[in-house]
């Protein structure tokens, strides 16, 4: 682990994982297609990853998803847990691109954030999850690829709508960085 893991990041990982579990357990929106829900937990993961960076994002994905699985099902579906880790980690890098603490999250950021999340999630759910399912669990290929694509689609919607709203609102609570100028 890097030395730079600050206390705040550690606490964010802990609390973030707990929020992930609660959202994953209690707050999903059924789409009407059996067994496919819009997961609000993933939207939260994307949001918190942008706030606290890749390490926090990845670990919240890992710990949150693993805890959720084990508290809900009693066993962990490792391949998808790994995808959560990947998504939190990859979207976390976007944290270096925006200055949320300066209250900046305009049109440009909305577009770039969504581009990032769409690419990351297609790789994650569409490619990584099915590949791991096949290699670890020997599940039928077309089943897991269908599941992966459906998950990619619903999660892209979830992050695209919910995380974007969350990020905009969060940016509004921060004071504009450029609102003060230094006196001569």
């Amino acid at each position: 682990m890097k030395k730079s893991l600050s206390i705040k990041t550690i606490v964010a990982i802990g609390i973030g994982s707990a929020v992930y579990v609660i959202l994953g357990r209690f707050l999903t929106i059924p789409t009407g297609i059996p067994n496919t829900n819009i997961e609000t937990a993933i939207a939260f993961l994307a949001f918190i990853a942008v706030l606290f960076g890749p390490i926090a994002g990845g670990l919240i994905g890992l710990i949150g998803h693993a805890l959720k699985d084990i508290l809900m099902w009693g066993s962990i579906w490792w391949s998808w847990v790994f995808v959560s880790l990947f998504i939190g980690f990859a979207i976390g890098f976007y944290a270096y691109k925006v200055k949320l603490e300066d209250g900046v999250f305009g049109k440009k950021e909305i577009i770039s954030f969504n581009l990032v999340q769409i690419i990351v999630q297609i790789i994650g759910w569409g490619v990584l999850a099915p590949t791991l399912d096949i290699s670890i669990y020997a599940e039928p290929a077309n089943k897991v690829f269908t599941q992966g694509l459906v998950a990619a689609l619903t999660n892209i919607i979830s992050v695209g709508v919910i995380s974007t709203i969350l990020l905009i609102s969060y940016a509004k609570t921060q004071s504009k960085g450029s609102s003060l100028t230094k006196e001569d």
Binding site: M1, L5, I7, K8, I10, V11, A12, I13, G14, I15, G16, S17, A18, V19, V21, I22, L23, R25, F26, L27, I29, P30, T31, G32, P34, N35, I38, T40, A43, F44, F47, L59, I63, G64, L67, I70, L71, M72, W73, G74, S75, I76, W78, I136, Y137, A138, E139, P140, A141, N142, K143, T146, Q147, I157, S158, V161, I162, L166, S169, T173
Partner: protein, 276 residues
């Protein structure tokens, strides 16, 4: 909304007496073994063993009935999905086809498919009791101590223990917020259109997340004041020294794990093929 989640049950049994470290190692070995092997003979032996362990723990079936129902339901759905998407998967794996009867097109019922799906299901029955027991019989703070003991940095272990500690608090927050919003007339049920529901869901998430961010500030300041992270190591209040019982169980499970891996992979295939 009386929704239950699994949690620690205080009890006095052999399983409870084992240290958290032992249980964590056994749980990890057990679930990796069950994940890797598709050898039916091994799975059946493991299943019988897991039943014995479950009996030893004195946990009653009715205490975990809710979770069990969820798992069974999920297994049923998963099995149906596997059959719908790939009715010939078993034939592909075992390389032969014993047709029982034909339904439509490629949807026939073969012994191979039945056997394959039996194995998939059995894997769950092997992992689940042990995983459930691990959660039920290990105290959360001991769990953090054992994570640290198997070599995970204590900062990450603390993060896990924080997550477990704050789960009930955040669940309570969540429930309060959701009831408040419903009292204000925000609808989360099926009656709303999906786009509207997506928006309504945000009205729960927003307060929940922002109060959690406040929580993060408070806790990290408190930890900062107590100089958390100053030293390379830390001690754990709830850590227990390993007893004789722990050593025996560890040795037996490591031995078992090695045997399983050898038996599974000795012929180059994870599957046990009874059809040849």
């Amino acid at each position: 909304m009386a929704v239950k989640m699994l949690g620690y049950f205080e009890r006095s049994s052999v399983i409870h007496q084992l240290s958290g470290f032992t249980k964590l190692v056994i749980f990890l070995l057990w679930s990796s073994a069950a994940m890797l092997t598709y050898d039916t003979r091994i799975l059946i032996i493991l299943f019988i063993l897991s039943m014995i362990i479950f009996k030893l723990s004195k946990v009653q079936l009715k205490e975990i009935r809710y979770v069990l129902m969820l798992i069974l339901f999920f297994l049923l759905l998963n099995n149906i999905a596997i059959y719908l998407f790939s009715p010939q998967e078993g034939v592909k794996i075992y390389g032969s086809s014993h047709e029982l009867f034909s339904i439509y097109g490629r949807y026939n019922l073969t012994l191979e498919q039945l056997f394959y799906q039996f194995n998939v299901t059995l894997k769950y029955f092997v992992v689940t009791p042990v995983a459930l027991l691990f959660i039920i019989t290990t105290h959360p703070s001991e769990f953090a101590a054992s994570l640290n003991k198997i070599g995970i940095s204590y900062k990450i272990s603390i993060a896990v223990s924080l997550a477990l500690r704050y789960l009930p608090d955040i669940q309570r927050d969540f429930r309060t917020i959701s009831q408040v919003q419903q009292a204000r007339g925000v609808d989360f049920s099926k009656n709303e259109k999906i786009t509207k529901r997506l928006k309504n869901v945000v009205s729960i998430m927003m307060p929940l997340i922002f109060s959690s961010l406040d929580r993060i500030d408070t806790i990290s300041q408190a930890m900062e004041l107590r100089s958390f992270g100053k030293h390379k190591k830390r001690t754990w209040y709830s850590e227990r020294p390993l007893s004789k019982l722990d050593w025996y169980s560890l040795l037996i499970s490591i031995f078992l794990f090695i045997v399983i891996i050898i038996v599974t992979f000795h012929d180059g295939s994870r599957f046990y093929n009874p059809f040849n």
